[in-house]
């Protein structure tokens, strides 16, 4: 129950790393180095995993000593921590993960305890579940829609705001203006195809604003103005 908030799932996974070294570096350092080389944003391996909202990976080296009178203790193993917020069911998510970046995972996680026995999506799902820490409290401050719906909504909002600004003067041009406004909106509806969550939409994990959103709306308004002449 703690793992969900509506249709959003919060996954916490601690994967133990084998003891041992390769080329004079311990496995956990190798894993962290590889991890920090992962490309970012739309190039990130996680961008390929369907329905991932926000996700992170880090190495848990040890627990922290809080200082007296706390007890000092240490972890016997290092863990790769994977935390992900996504839409849908856990099994589907993990299966999707294996199907899209399974090869990368096989290579990346090769030094994790008994990961060499993972050879199929079913194996992977079982493995991850064994590494899962149950969430005590999952707070969703956002929505729990499928990712493509969230992205579509971002696109629609940005496009509509451009429409509202660019068509604004039609509101004050009496009857002629009302006709142009209605015409422009009809074209806008065709442009955004609001029920189609695939395209057009907001590009996943982009750090920049797609310029064509404003341009395509501008084109509509220009066409309406041309038609009116």
């Amino acid at each position: 129950m703690g793992n969900r908030f509506g249709n959003a799932y919060g996954l916490t996974v601690l994967i133990p790393i084998k003891h041992g070294t390769e080329d004079n570096r311990s496995y956990d350092k190798i894993i962290r180095d590889k991890l920090q080389q992962w490309p970012l944003d739309e190039q990130s391996p996680l961008s390929k995993v369907p329905n991932t909202y926000l996700s992170r990976v880090f190495l848990l080296n040890d627990v922290f000593y809080e200082g007296a009178p706390a007890i000092e203790e240490h972890l016997k193993n290092k863990y790769l921590v994977f935390s992900s917020n996504f839409f849908g069911e856990l099994d589907d998510y993990l299966t999707g993960m294996w199907n899209t970046i399974g090869d990368l995972l096989k290579e990346f996680l090769q030094h994790c305890v008994v990961f060499d026995k993972v050879n199929s999506s079913a194996d992977f799902v079982r493995y991850i579940k064994r590494c899962q820490i149950k969430t005590s409290l999952f707070f969703n401050g956002s929505t729990d829609k499928p990712l493509d719906e969230q992205l579509k909504a971002l696109y629609v909002k940005q496009a509509f705001i451009h429409f509202a600004y660019l068509s604004d003067h039609f509101r004050y041009e009496g009857e002629r203006g009302a006709i142009k406004l209605q015409d422009a909106f009809k074209r806008f509806v065709n442009l955004i195809d609001i029920k189609n969550f695939n395209v057009p939409s907001w590009p996943v994990a982009t750090q920049s604003i797609p310029a064509d959103i404003e341009l395509s709306v501008k084109a509509i308004i220009n066409n309406v103005k041309e038609a009116d002449k």
Partner: protein, 234 residues
């Protein structure tokens, strides 16, 4: 390594907790989680017998966090047993349990710790109740130091929409839904005048959601410097 992906900041904190506070914390979290489920209508059988007054009251405790509106998703997970997969793996033998906290919020921790701790100090105290050497959420500096002391930096942070704050996601959903209804409500032979009246109402209804997204502001100068270096090297 970066805790930042566009407008979102990844916070990872691990703190020890033990004894009766551990059980109390588990209970508090369960109660909160249960109240959330009841609000969302999927609390199952138990949801029918636990009084709504109680769950409403408990859910109300999250009002502050919800109103802050800075968070995408946040999670608390208490580790009693670290995963042990095989006899080849040494078994952990720890006196403390450990609470993991993950959050994705908008702005940097330095900037927004003030906002969190002034607005929901009791809430924060509830979440970290009796964690070992937790100093309390007020005053600021010990609390800030405690969290950063126990913070683990993210090695890879992925955000499906770095340019969108949590408010942008929510606002976009509201606007999209309103627009869908608006489009559906348009009669085939609607006059231009009627259309404009409806459109004016749409603008009025959604005027809160008419802010465009842009990539700014930068969350921190160091992160910005790293980005610049990377784009120069790459």
């Amino acid at each position: 390594m970066s805790n930042i992906a566009g407008k979102s900041y990844a916070m990872n904190v691990i703190t020890p907790i033990t004894g009766w506070p551990y059980y109390l914390n588990r209970f508090i979290f369960s109660l909160l989680q249960f109240s959330i489920s009841k609000q969302l209508g999927n609390a199952g059988f138990l949801g029918k017998i636990v009084p709504t007054a109680l769950t409403d009251y408990v859910f109300g405790k999250l009002n502050g966090l919800l109103t802050l509106s800075l968070i995408h998703y946040a999670r608390w997970a208490i580790i009693k047993e670290f995963p042990h997969l095989d006899s080849s793996q040494p078994k952990e033998n720890l006196k403390y349990n450990y609470m993991l906290f993950f959050s994705n919020f908008n702005g940097s921790w330095t900037q927004y710790v003030d906002s969190f701790h002034m607005s929901i100090p009791e809430g924060l105290d509830r979440f970290w109740f009796k964690n070992i050497k937790y100093p309390g959420s007020v005053p600021l500096q010990p609390f800030h130091d405690y969290i950063t002391y126990n913070q683990i930096w993210t090695n890879h942070y992925y955000n499906a929409y770095p340019v969108a704050a949590s408010n942008d996601i929510k606002g976009a959903q509201e606007l999209s839904d309103a627009l869908t209804r608006f489009i559906a409500a348009g009669a085939e032979q609607e006059s231009a005048e009627d259309f404009q009246t409806r459109y004016e109402n749409l603008l009025l209804d959604q005027q809160r959601n008419l802010g465009l997204m842009e990539p700014t502001p930068i969350v921190s100068l160091s992160a910005e410097a790293v980005l610049r270096r990377e784009s120069e090297d790459g």
